[in-house]
């Protein structure tokens, strides 16, 4: 190993250099502390054996300067003293010396102490190497994480644009909606559209699980669930004889969806799908494992509709239940995902159906849009953070007074 030997006494320096050479070390010599410091500053020195008493810069001061400097690696310093008194040792240790040799130096002592220092330096260098590796890996991880995060943000941006916008001009109804994804991208989707001149379709679905797989499935579903029969919509059936399309009842549409979306893993989705027949004011729902929609009618308590049903994608050839609700102008229907009722507060208590119903009763007079905004705020407050743990989606329709044909 390369050792910087510092001594103003040329005779002592020559003897010590010879000893170190014989022990297999490469020796660089300096005649005083200042000259030694210049060599240390230049780098490539990690081991110093220095005399204490020297002109210009004493050994102990050289040691202090080395410790105070911002050098690349650790420098191991052995101070040599002729005096060997107690106070010298304390001062030397304070200055940061690693070890001491008492003059005259015995070859055996020199060998043992240099070897001890060498061992410590090797450990230190190993640690520094590990730290560099860790820093490098950390940097790579950080870059990878940023890449994934950027991708997710881009995916969320795309998803927001892929989601169909519920129709604002569907005849006979007004609608409002809110979507608050739990991560960057959502597994909840919904829509409201005109199915034909007398029927409106409305749905909200929730793909089980979160993140990318759920979002990919929800985007696929949003593409499939279109009122445009020419693209093989499961919501309509084309009569081969006449070429005209007919709106399927919701239970038929859900059955068809279930047939098409049988998953090989445990992935499924829950859905509520309604077809509103404008002339008869009848809204027919099929419920597939999804939370019950709520009817908000002026003058009565808000009402949960339906009792449930099997989710979609688990078993083929399942029949789905349906139910009718007759609406009147001013009536509202709220569809929502389970993220609404399952949001828990700091005590672990879920927001729940009863709180949702009470909120809708108290806030009846608000406009449809305001109502959803306040509800979202109420749920966020309950969850005591703006970070929802599950997707929260809300879709509401109101039968307008002018909708009577």
């Amino acid at each position: 190993m390369k050792i910087l030997l510092v001594d103003d006494d040329p005779v002592a320096r020559t003897i010590h250099a010879m000893l170190l050479h014989m022990q297999g070390h490469e020796v660089v010599e300096a005649a005083d502390g200042e000259l030694a410091w210049r060599l240390v500053e230049e780098g490539n020195i990690s081991f110093v054996v220095s005399d204490w008493m020297m002109p210009n810069l004493a050994g102990v001061d050289l040691c202090r300067r080395i410790r105070a400097a911002d050098l690349d690696g650790y420098v191991y310093v052995i101070l040599c003293t002729a005096k060997g008194t107690q106070s010298d040792l304390v001062e030397g240790m304070d200055a940061g010396a690693d070890d001491f040799l008492v003059k005259p130096i015995s070859p055996e002592e020199l060998r043992v102490k240099v070897r001890a220092g060498e061992r410590l330096l090797r450990l230190q260098q190993g640690l520094a190497e590990k730290n560099r590796e860790l820093a490098h890996i950390n940097h790579q991880l950080h870059a990878a994480h940023k890449l994934v995060e950027d991708d997710l943000k881009a995916a969320a941006w795309m998803q927001q644009r892929l989601l169909p916008l519920p129709a604002q001009n569907a005849s006979g109804v007004r609608c409002a909606w809110r979507l608050h994804p739990s991560g960057y991208i959502a597994g909840d989707i919904f829509n409201l559209f005109q199915l034909d001149e007398s029927k409106i379709g409305i749905y909200l679905l929730d793909v089980c699980g979160h993140g990318v797989p759920a979002a990919m499935m929800s985007v696929t579903l949003s593409m499939v669930l279109t009122p445009d029969a020419t693209h093989g919509s499961p919501l309509k059936r084309i009569d081969p004889a006449t070429g005209t399309s007919k709106v399927l009842p919701p239970e038929g549409a859900i059955r068809e969806l279930n047939r098409r979306f049988q998953s090989r893993d445990d992935r499924y989705f829950t859905m509520i799908y309604g077809v509103f027949d404008i002339p008869s004011y009848t809204l027919r729902f099929a419920q597939a494992g999804h939370p019950s929609p709520i009817l908000v009618r002026p003058g009565i308590d808000p009402l949960l509709l339906g009792t449930g049903g099997m989710p979609i994608g688990l078993w083929p050839e399942i029949d789905f239940d349906c139910f009718d609700v007759h609406l009147a102008p001013g009536d509202r229907i709220l569809l929502y995902s389970d993220g609404v009722t399952e949001t828990i507060n700091s005590q672990g208590e879920p927001f729940g159906e009863s709180r949702l119903l009470a909120f809708l009763r108290e806030q009846q007079l608000r406009s449809l849009d305001e109502l959803l905004e306040c509800l979202l705020a109420e749920i966020a407050l309950w969850g005591s953070s703006s970070e929802f743990t599950d997707d929260v989606s809300l879709l509401a329709l109101e039968v307008t007074k002018t909708s009577i044909l």
């Binding site: 929730d206 089980c208 699980g209 979160h210 893993d265 445990d266 992935r267 499924y268 829950t270 494992g289 939370p291 019950s292 009792t307 449930g308 049903g309 099997m310 989710p311 688990l314 389970d338 399952e342 672990g348 879920p350 599950d390």
Partner: protein, 123 residues
Amino acid sequence: MQFEESSILDVLVVRVRESRIVADIAAQFKEGLIAYVTSGKRRIVLDLSQVTFIDSSGLGALIGSLKAIGAGGELALCGAREGVISMLKLTRMDKVFRIFATPEEAAASLSLHNGANSETSQP
């Protein structure tokens, strides 16, 4: 993910020692149950008395385990609390899983050693 196992007759009773079966542990949960199935257990009662909440991923894991057991076996539930029961009813899983009040009742019904209940009487 913690399970506590015991046996009643020829039925394995697995007590779920988690309060929430949700997305974070759903995969582990299913793996654990599948491991019982691959080790030859075909009559399993899942004791849910400590579970307060099952989310959609948790339900997916339950259904996946049921499918893994297949026609030759049975996975029944017991001790489910009100919140869990209403979720099972909403998704009609009360028609898919047999649900019992206690592990003893469930085991008595599932066991092949029970004279009133033979393999052929199973659906």
